[in-house]
């Protein structure tokens, strides 16, 4: 199976007064057709920057973004417009990503107008169809965003993203701004849409529990680099990188009996401007030694579909 999206050695850096900030530092991954790949990490690790460079909403400084066999990052603006139909994004906060002065019909219809010459009734019908897909009816067409709840607004944002029938949908923390009671509704909708429309998802989140629910594969990012990747089941049940392990141990369980299993990571994320020469995680890691201080660990494959960037990965269960 060839990959739908293939990212190789993606780099984005910012020149600041204090020095060079490497926001994304050599990230490579593939997303196959119909697959959901999750990108997780703390705030500031570069996961949203990856999403925006994929769409070329910000320019990358190195590496390639191949979509369906075409190098997306080298296209000129006119050509890119055509290919961008294949990629779409849903943002985190549906309270700020929808224009409050536009009616739903115009919000969802805008991408259609930009690409095709649909007008009047035909356009309206098309919008109705896309709204129907996300569970909204024709009675919602002439309403404004403020008339909807958070969950419904996120549905509108999803309908807008799907209006051009993209092959890949980038979801940048789509449920972070929602209550848990409606979060599940949006996640179920996404799963359902994926099955019906044969979509691929790049799901960006810091909530590992939602990632486990929706994704097939997961990549853990720390300070601009991927530190571990693999199938969700393997990575979560058997984290190889100390950072992945710490992330999992930081999630409070709803079972009061598991209270003592909460183990916070010590220290803070170091400033990306002053990274130590070796492994970026060394200051917070209890396995760190002189190798970690001197050399940057590369992302190495340790078994089929499983890679980790660590000199001392937790290999306990892999040796059998």
């Amino acid at each position: 199976m060839t990959a739908l999206l293939s990212v190789a050695d993606l780099k984005k850096q910012y020149q600041t007064k204090a020095g060079l900030l490497r926001a994304v530092d050599g990230v490579s991954f593939d997303v196959a057709s119909g697959e959901t790949v999750a990108l997780v990490g703390e705030s500031g690790c570069g996961k949203s920057t990856v999403a925006l460079t994929l769409l070329q909403l910000i320019k990358n400084d190195g590496g390639t973004v191949m979509f369906d066999g075409i190098d997306f990052s080298s296209l000129d603006d006119r050509k890119r417009k055509k290919y961008r139909q294949n990629l779409s994004i849903v943002f985190q906060n549906p309270y700020s990503s929808l224009n409050p002065k536009m009616k739903v019909v115009d919000i969802v219809g805008e991408p259609l107008k930009a690409i095709s010459d649909l007008k009047g009734r035909a356009l309206r019908q098309q919008v109705e169809l896309h709204l129907h897909n996300v569970g909204l009816g024709p009675e919602h067409l002439n309403r404004y965003p403020h008339e909807f709840s958070g969950g419904q607004r996120q549905r509108i944002a999803i309908a807008r993203a799907l209006a051009l029938e993209p092959k890949l949908l980038i979801l940048d923390e789509p449920t972070a701004a929602l209550d848990v009671s409606v979060q599940a509704q949006v996640l179920n909708l996404l799963k359902d849409l994926q099955a019906r429309l044969d979509l691929s998802f790049l799901f960006i989140s810091h909530n590992l529990a939602t990632v486990e629910y929706i994704a097939d594969r997961v990549m853990v990012m720390y300070l601009g680099r991927i530190v571990e990747s693999g199938s969700v089941k393997d990575v979560f049940s058997n984290p190889a990188h100390p950072y992945t392990k710490a992330l999992l141990a930081s999630i409070p369980s709803i079972d009061p009996g598991k209270r003592d299993q909460l183990k916070p990571l010590s220290g803070e994320v170091p400033s990306p401007l002053y990274l130590p020469p070796g492994c970026a995680f060394q200051g917070r890691c209890d396995k760190a030694d002189t190798t970690c201080a001197a050399q940057k660990p590369e992302l190495k494959t340790i078994m089929t579909d499983r890679a980790v960037a660590c000199f001392h990965p937790n290999m306990g269960e892999f040796n059998q």
Partner: protein
């Protein structure tokens, strides 16, 4: 010691405007005892923040309050500005959801924290500074002296929230109100703050009213929990009682919506419908449109609070249905 630090009895808060009156809190009662961490959990719009603001007398003038809020026996509702000033900081401190907006960006954090301590009257600045530096150490800010001279934008969210906690605790209050203090933070930092609050509460016998929408945080931090829905407390009890054997259908449903690592659910459940519009009068139970155990009585009669186990209170007509009956120990149910 089991004396009550905060006692809220039958609190109602209405916001009146020309067009309509929103009944944000509709008869809410609970106590926080000394040394106890009490969780208040609910969806957005359930009235949990309004309740906590009322406890500090921080409501806008458009709000109409009734009922009683007592801090160490002293009534807050109707108290004068001078009386409130003596209570705030001294007896109750508050930390907010977003520490970056709660601090003044133009002033060094140390200066702001010392201001807060010195606002309490007879403390002079050098003494205030010493107290703040000590508090910075207690909340484990690395290098308290360096942190003291930083501006808010030079610190991370987790560090700022530590500054807020230090500032609140340096005033040595009886009660700390924490309004979603970890919601804006990463899970790793959230875990650090949870452990820190747990230790501090034990060390200085502090009472905490912890407001959140995250049941995981409740489970890992709180001694008791109250679940709020549409301006009322629908269930309360010890954390074990409420989370392990929820009696209200809303609590049960809320628990089912939380995705848990390792559970590998194929379909997540959610609560259909929306929180009712609190500007309209609620006849019967407020949860009626979203509940799948509705009876005729639920639509017409507002359920009363019943105690189904020692300390576990539920506001539901179903509190004594056959499924629950074996758990019920006390008579007098609806």
């Amino acid at each position: 010691m089991s004396d009550t630090v905060l006692s809220i009895q039958d609190l109602t808060v209405d916001f009146c405007s020309f067009e309509r009156t929103v009944h944000a809190v509709r008869g809410c009662s609970f106590d926080v005892k000394r040394g106890e961490i009490m969780g208040l959990v609910g969806e957005s719009g359930s009235g949990k923040s309004v309740t906590s603001m009322a406890a500090l007398g921080l409501m806008a003038t458009s709000a109409e309050l009734s009922g009683s809020v007592r801090v160490n026996g002293q009534e807050i509702i109707g108290a004068s500005a001078a009386e409130l000033r003596a209570i705030r900081g001294n007896k109750i401190s508050m930390i907010f959801q977003n520490p970056l907006t709660a601090l003044n960006p133009f002033l060094r954090v140390g200066r702001q924290a010392v201001d807060a301590v010195c606002a309490q009257g007879d403390i002079r600045r050098p003494e205030g500074q010493a107290r703040i530096l000590e508090a910075f150490g207690e909340v484990r800010l690395p290098d308290p002296e360096i942190a003291f001279n930083k501006y808010p934008h030079q610190m991370s969210g987790g560090q700022l929230q530590r500054v807020m906690i230090a500032m609140a605790l340096a005033c040595q209050p009886d009660l700390l109100i924490a309004d979603e203090p970890t919601t804006a933070l990463d899970v790793t930092v959230q875990a650090q703050i949870i452990i820190l609050l747990r230790e501090l509460a034990k060390k200085v016998n502090l009472s905490v009213l912890f407001i959140t929408h995250d049941l995981g945080v409740i489970a890992s931090l709180c001694d008791r929990v109250a679940v709020m829905y549409a301006g009322q407390i629908v269930e309360s009890g010890t954390t074990e009682q409420v989370l392990c054997a929820p009696a209200h259908p809303y609590t049960t449903k809320l628990m089912q919506t939380v995705p848990e690592i390792g559970s590998l659910k194929s379909e997540l459940s959610y609560i259909p419908g929306q929180v009712p519009d609190l500007a309209r009068p609620v006849s019967g139970c407020a949860f009626v449109d979203r509940c799948d155990m509705v009876m005729d009585r639920c639509r017409t009669l507002a359920p009363a609070v019943s105690e189904i186990k020692a300390g576990q209170m539920v506001r539901c007509h179903h509190a004594a249905t056959p499924a629950q009956a074996e758990k019920v120990q006390i008579g007098g149910l609806l």
